[in-house]
């Protein structure tokens, strides 16, 4: 289906809800853009923008008309593709039953190109190996992905360096570009599932001017990236395991794991066990974990990576280098979340630039 133009988002939200989707989109909560379920487009963070710098996030008033004038939220699609906690199985006596948790139909409205790239990375991790995860696949198939092309990159963004944005070119069901004067959205369809949804909206065909304006939004965004990473030779640079830089960044790093929690691709997990008091059923739960915790690498009571520099080096090296060896693609999509949400403002782009 060719691109169309819609004037408001309310019919889209209504159409998605009528189609059985819970619509999850960007809203203002506790002075941060967060993703949560909405029942009306009125709830979206219209008129707000954000200021993002290393270790700093501030909400600010933007253009009153514009709905998507902000950069990455600390939330990403990861909470929906890989839930923070999920029950794996229950065992009672000699019976073991898979939990087979529900895969709710969710329409994620407002994903950015970097978020789509992150989903593609997670697909590779959970479906591309020798042991594909059927629960991940169920969740993934229940997700409808509605992208919004970035107009206002944040101060910590570097998707252009990672070749993941700012324009959504693949991996979406629908992609919107918000245009001003007059306020409207160009809607592109990226999948068979997106077609009937777009067709059901009150719309007109996109004109050549609409399409040119939409392309201009992405061109302009690409020129306003907050940060840059030189990816040429990055694996060689990250093979400098003995660089003094690791001790320097390790001295600043609190190993708080914030970066891994906001990262849309970090997939590490651990397991917890619980036993019911009433009938003795044992339950196994998988939850997000982080390579910054001490017990992450523990073998026979001793962590392999006991020092802060060792753990920071593991994270950065995995994300930008060994991930490529393992999965044939970088683990970083350039969303900048780890920089913004680091409490001491460690900037991965700066760390990478300072390696030999």
């Amino acid at each position: 289906m060719d691109a169309i133009v819609i004037d408001t988002l309310e019919p889209l939200v209504a159409e998605l809800r009528a189609g059985g989707y819970a619509v999850v989109g960007p809203v203002v909560r506790e002075r941060v853009i967060r993703f949560e379920e909405i029942t009306s487009a009125d709830r979206l963070a219209r008129g707000w923008t954000d200021v993002q710098e290393p270790g700093r996030y501030r909400l600010a008033e933007g253009d009153g008309e514009m709905v998507f004038s902000f950069a990455a939220s600390p939330d990403s699609a990861k909470a929906y593709t890989q839930p923070p906690r999920q029950t794996l199985f229950r065992m009672r006596g000699e019976q073991i039953e898979e939990a087979e948790e529900d895969a709710p139909r969710v329409a994620l409205l407002g994903l950015r190109a970097c978020d789509l790239a992150a989903i593609a990375v997670q697909d590779r991790v959970f479906l591309g190996g020798r042991h594909p995860d059927p629960a991940y696949l169920r969740r993934r198939q229940a997700l409808l992905l509605i992208a919004v092309n970035c107009a206002v990159p944040g101060g910590t963004c570097f998707c252009v360096s990672m070749h993941t944005g700012p324009r959504a070119t693949t991996g979406f069901d629908l992609a919107l570009t918000e245009l001003a004067a007059p306020h409207r959205f160009v809607v592109e369809t990226g999948s068979a599932r997106g077609e009937p949804i777009a067709a059901a909206l009150p719309h007109r065909p996109a004109s050549a001017e609409d399409l040119a304006a939409s392309a201009e939004v992405s061109r302009d965004a690409a020129e306003h990236m907050g940060r840059h990473v030189e990816t040429e030779g990055i694996q060689e640079r990250l093979s400098a395991h003995d660089s003094p830089r690791w001790a320097q960044v390790g001295a600043r790093c609190l190993t708080c794991a914030n970066c891994t929690m906001v990262c849309p691709t970090c997939f590490c997990s651990t397991v917890e066990d619980a036993t019911s008091f009433t009938d003795g059923t044992a339950e196994r739960i998988e939850r997000w974990d982080s390579c910054f915790t001490l017990d992450f690498s523990e073998v026979n009571g001793t962590p392999v990576r006991g020092s802060n520099p060792g753990r920071y080096r593991q994270w950065l090296t995995h994300k930008f280098s060994t991930w490529i060896d393992q999965f044939g693609m970088s683990g970083c999509v350039g969303c900048g979340r780890c920089i913004t949400w680091c409490p001491v403002g460690i900037d991965v782009t700066e760390e990478l630039a300072n390696l030999p």
Binding site: F89, E98, P132, A135, C268, S269, A274, D289, S297, V299
Partner: protein, 275 residues
């Protein structure tokens, strides 16, 4: 694309027998509650789940006559202690077998040195048995095993049996007691005592990482090709299917790319602290 069982779901296995090996170590024989035990290659491991307590990676130390796996477990933490406490008839969860096994085929026709430190003898036991089942298929077979103290030595009966079957079996301890008449020191101290033709030798090494590094370095110094020395690495494993991230070692997932890995591939990484 995929409708099979979740890779993290174990199958129920019943403890058929339990044999204490040392004060802190037992060997369990495990049989599936339903169906057959999948085949395994020497050097592979399973994920053993103690209901309500947790799950750990345990190497397979052999196949019982009944068809079940024998798995040798040392009680070092909550999960291993719970597994060591299991009795015949108890049910545990088991996933696997997983991982790359020993390169038996690559060792065909060559002298073979099998070097074990402590509990490292467990994953080597099936490979020694495979070598001795096909005695003409290999050159000299030497088994060198180190133990902290004489009382901690594993599989004494197997060691005696392997000697009768034509292996040169030697044991060393580094904390002898008054009963000990054998050599004293580290496993590397036995390399000079066994006979092998370095340029036609394959080696399987398992034990604490420091022991493996020293043993591999010494074998290579003696002229064994680094690609013909295999080590079985130990890292934290939660999933065994390359999805939890815990066992990463540089670019490797030790659970899937290992645990058995050639020395030439891992030597540069073993030299990096905290990798």
């Amino acid at each position: 694309m995929t409708g099979g069982p979740h890779p993290m779901t174990p199958a129920p296995y019943r403890v058929r027998s339990r044999r204490p090996d040392r004060a802190d170590t037992v060997t369990l024989t495990l049989e599936p509650v339903r169906g057959d035990c999948p085949p395994f290659r020497p050097g592979q491991f399973t994920m053993l789940y103690a209901p309500g307590v947790g799950e750990i990676a345990v190497s397979i130390s052999g196949r019982a006559r009944s068809g079940g796996y024998t798995q040798t477990i040392r009680a070092v933490g909550a999960v291993s202690a719970a597994l060591c406490g299991k009795r015949p008839g108890d049910v545990v969860g088991l996933r696997g077998p997983y991982g790359q096994g020993w390169g038996l085929r690559a060792a065909a026709g060559l002298d073979v040195v099998v070097a074990a430190g402590g509990l490292g003898l467990a994953p080597l036991r099936p490979v020694v048995r495979a070598l001795l089942r096909d005695r003409p298929g290999y050159g000299r077979v030497s088994v060198i095993a180190g133990s902290r103290a004489p009382g901690l030595l594993l599989f004494r009966r197997d060691l005696a049996c392997w000697a009768r079957q034509g292996a040169d079996v030697r044991v060393i301890v580094d904390h002898p007691d008054h009963t000990w008449r054998g050599p004293v020191g580290l496993v590397t101290g036995l390399i000079d005592r066994v006979v092998f033709e370095p340029r036609r030798t394959y080696a399987f090494v398992c034990g604490p990482e420091a022991m493996m590094r020293k043993t591999a370095a010494e074998l290579v110094r003696r002229g064994v090709a680094p690609g013909r020395v295999e080590l079985s690495l130990e890292r934290n494993m939660k999933c065994a299917v390359a999805r939890c991230g815990h066992c990463q070692f540089g670019p490797l997932f030790v659970c899937e790319d290992g645990p058995v890995l050639p020395y030439d591939r891992v030597a540069p990484m073993l030299a990096v602290a905290e990798l």
